[in-house]
Symmetry: C2
Subunit: 471 residues, 2 copies
């Protein structure tokens, strides 16, 4: 039987222990992070190095077997799990977890795709450097997955997304060749930007096996504040002032609706907000500086005082200790967990120009209340970089299941709003198998066609993560 | 005659006045910036808007006429001039010079490709914002050309290259379609990164007609220093310390060999260095801050004092006035002009990992002195971002013409050195028609093949700037 011989060949290439074909043992690899979907796979294969990845991809090409690359499998859009056909293999990169090099003087590190993000951050800190990518799943996501999905997180305002933190890549192409694009350069104009094409392509153009990452000097001080304000428009005005006061020092600027925080204090009652939750919106902001702490603190106080005097913000708490800062962050970081405890809701991860943020929230809230009176908005996110988690919960007394039947109608309202502002229906989660259809509806034909032309040129057999990103 | 009817059609599409077919009048468009090369063209066509660009490209596709897009024609690698076949048209974007929008709250501006870089910078300043791209030809280069070539310059250390300063593009594709990719978003994970594919592709994949650019808060203070030191290795140590002291505030870190500066003072005797030119190397560095001037100055003085005490630098001058700062910058900015006055030399625009900079200079200098004893090194550039203008002048008493006959041998030595360090033979100038052959020799087959696959997929007729970038 063809499958048997294929699996036998895989075992020869990567070793018996690293090929799983027992359906029961495959479950964690074929089930998505939020446990909404379980696909099927021929096998889960875990090569031990780049050479073995290339061997497997080459074999799959020969036998026309689709390949689903997978890192920590923490994606939110079904990008790293196979469909239900059972024809594909899952190619796990988790065994490629060496930190190959830290070049302190060049401010770079070269890491393999399977390194856990927290381990990458820790290795950088050990070398007195900062790798700033920061997101909720950092304890289990891998850097390869972060790059494949162009992860965002809470420090994008200052440091950019995963794309902007990457200087070079090693990639196994759909042909099973190894591309050594591990350039450690900040300027390199020697041809098309293949790096940025692979970053964010969610495994549909090849398999990222290693990357050169940018490192930064560790900031000397870090100051956190928690601010209450009335409207998203005031939040935007506050952002503009904060950028003027603090420039590059402004690292984080996160908006949270009162209801998001009420969910946190309801489900995690030990988490205490530093201000009463009696205003409609709150902002968590952070300044990181290379200057001494007193100066940053003085500047921060001046900013907050000015914003209060100008009546842009209502109240502010400046963390005096690391513990206070952590407790402010806990409120922000537990919003997702709190809403999960509360029940299910319709989630969106959208981006609009920062200047249209307030208008987006106001008009979309109004439309949703019109069609779904009483729906509860878990609105929070990275106002500083123009992206938002804009989640819609059922009105009180309406069961979640019933509400979720209207998911498509809710999406339509939200995405139409996004589209009117030439925004993005996926800011940082990617498209995977979950959103590519809707996305195609909002993109121009020209853009979709160019994407298809590139996909076909690099992967004519459509074997790399088929059914993802493109419709 | 086919040509006549084609040109007549062009005249109908863009207006009589905007099609030049008189060979004498075409000269400035078909001659490169350094006046080393003059090609031939069927005509120079200057559309007035994106629609007209699309019409011309569509017509050229129908009639199989190659298109050479051109901005300010200030490129250094023959990327914006046609070859000598006389088959191509030059498509000048200079009439597309509207600043379409400045969105202050979103920190973006939307500009057309033909805007002069200085005009873009000025418009940003008028809106109390900074557009940081800064290079020698800023008075005549266009933003479309800057993006097509992924321009670099003196502020890359802090703000990145043109690629990193661009959020969205409008492009006329080789099919003559208009792609509206003018996203004003900092996070956008809705498909392949077409933007970064067009940026740096030197007009070979399509014509950039407009772009969304990132703006930044204007720094409050700007402080410049001029430092003398002994070796590139010390310069590197100094860079590491400066980054630790100043973090993101460090905007510029330019290395200059003594000989580079001696050429400046020889040919521009009114330019006076702030320190005696009695050390082998000098560094121009600048801190930009959002904090008050006294604080930046104090920090800067502390950094310089520490570096002197540690014997990393020999001497330093901190500009006390804007005039002093300008005069320091003049020395740096006139190196190219001074070497042109001195005669011709063999120029390189290379990048290596910053950590290997000193080793690169030392070993390559030694090899060049071995094969070309007495050759004079005009070594200067952006040490902070790892790129270098590494120009080789004839030894005294050897005529330039004779020396330039050995150009290929000199290139070989320099590029072999670059290649051993996995560097780039073009850091910021691109490849154009000048370097793509040599570049292909240093790239892996895998990388070249992927580039060719993409080119063929998007431009199967090979009509967009043929003979550039790819071999």
């Amino acid at each position: 039987m063809a499958q048997v011989s294929f699996i036998e060949l895989c075992r020869k290439l990567v070793g018996n222990a690293h090929v799983i074909s027992d359906p029961a043992k495959m479950v964690p690899y074929i089930t998505d992070y939020r446990r909404r979907f379980t696909g099927k796979a021929l096998a889960v294969i875990s090569p031990g190095n780049t050479r073995e990845v290339a061997d497997i991809v080459k074999l799959c090409k020969l036998q026309k077997i689709p390949v689903v690359p997978q890192g920590g499998n923490t994606g939110l859009v079904l990008g790293s799990v196979p469909d239900t056909s059972g024809k594909a293999v899952v190619l796990s990169l988790r065994r490629l977890k060496r930190i190959r090099e830290i070049d302190v003087a060049n401010n770079t590190m070269t890491v393999e795709a399977g390194c856990i993000l927290d381990d990458v951050r820790k290795a950088a800190l050990d070398a007195d450097r900062l790798f700033p990518l920061s997101l909720a799943s950092s304890g289990s996501c891998t850097i390869g997955g972060n790059l494949a999905a162009n992860a965002g997180g809470t420090a994008v305002l200052r440091y950019g997304t995963a794309r902007e933190l990457c200087l070079g890549l090693e990639v196994v192409t759909p042909d099973g060749d190894i591309w050594n694009g591990l350039y450690k350069l900040r300027k390199n104009n020697t041809g098309y930007d293949l790096r940025d094409l692979f970053v964010g392509s969610e495994g549909t153009l090849g398999v990222i096996t290693a990357a050169v990452l940018k490192l930064f000097p560790r900031p000397k001080t870090q100051q956190t504040a928690f601010v209450a304000l009335r409207t998203p428009d005031d939040a935007l005005r506050f952002l503009t002032i904060a950028q003027k006061f603090a420039g590059f020092a402004l690292t984080t600027f996160e908006l949270m609706s009162r209801y998001s925080l009420e969910l946190v204090t309801k489900h995690f009652p030990h988490l205490l907000p530093p201000l009463p939750l009696d205003k409609p919106y709150f902002v968590l902001l952070e300044l990181c500086e290379s200057e001494p702490e007193e100066q940053t603190a003085a500047r921060f106080e001046k900013l907050l005082q000015y914003a209060i005097e100008e009546d842009i913000i209502c109240d502010a708490a400046l963390a005096q200790t690391l513990a206070q800062s952590r407790s402010m962050w806990s409120l922000r970081e537990n919003i997702s967990a709190a809403q999960a405890k509360e029940g299910r809701n319709v989630k969106h991860d959208i981006a609009v120009p920062t200047s249209l943020f307030a208008e987006f929230i106001e008009t979309t809230d109004r439309l949703l209340q019109h069609y779904f009176p009483g729906c509860r908005m878990v609105t929070f996110g990275h106002l500083g970089d123009g992206s938002l988690h804009y989640n819609v919960g059922a009105p009180e007394r309406v069961p979640d299941d019933e509400f979720l039947l209207r998911q498509n109608d809710i999406n339509r309202i939200v995405y139409d709003s996004v589209s009117r502002m030439h925004g993005a229906i996926s800011a940082e989660h990617g498209l995977g198998a979950l959103k590519h259809g809707e996305n195609a509806g909002y993109k121009s034909e020209v853009e979709i066609r160019m994407m298809q032309q590139i996909k076909k040129a690099l992967d004519p057999g459509n074997l790399m993560n088929p059914g993802k990103v493109l419709p």
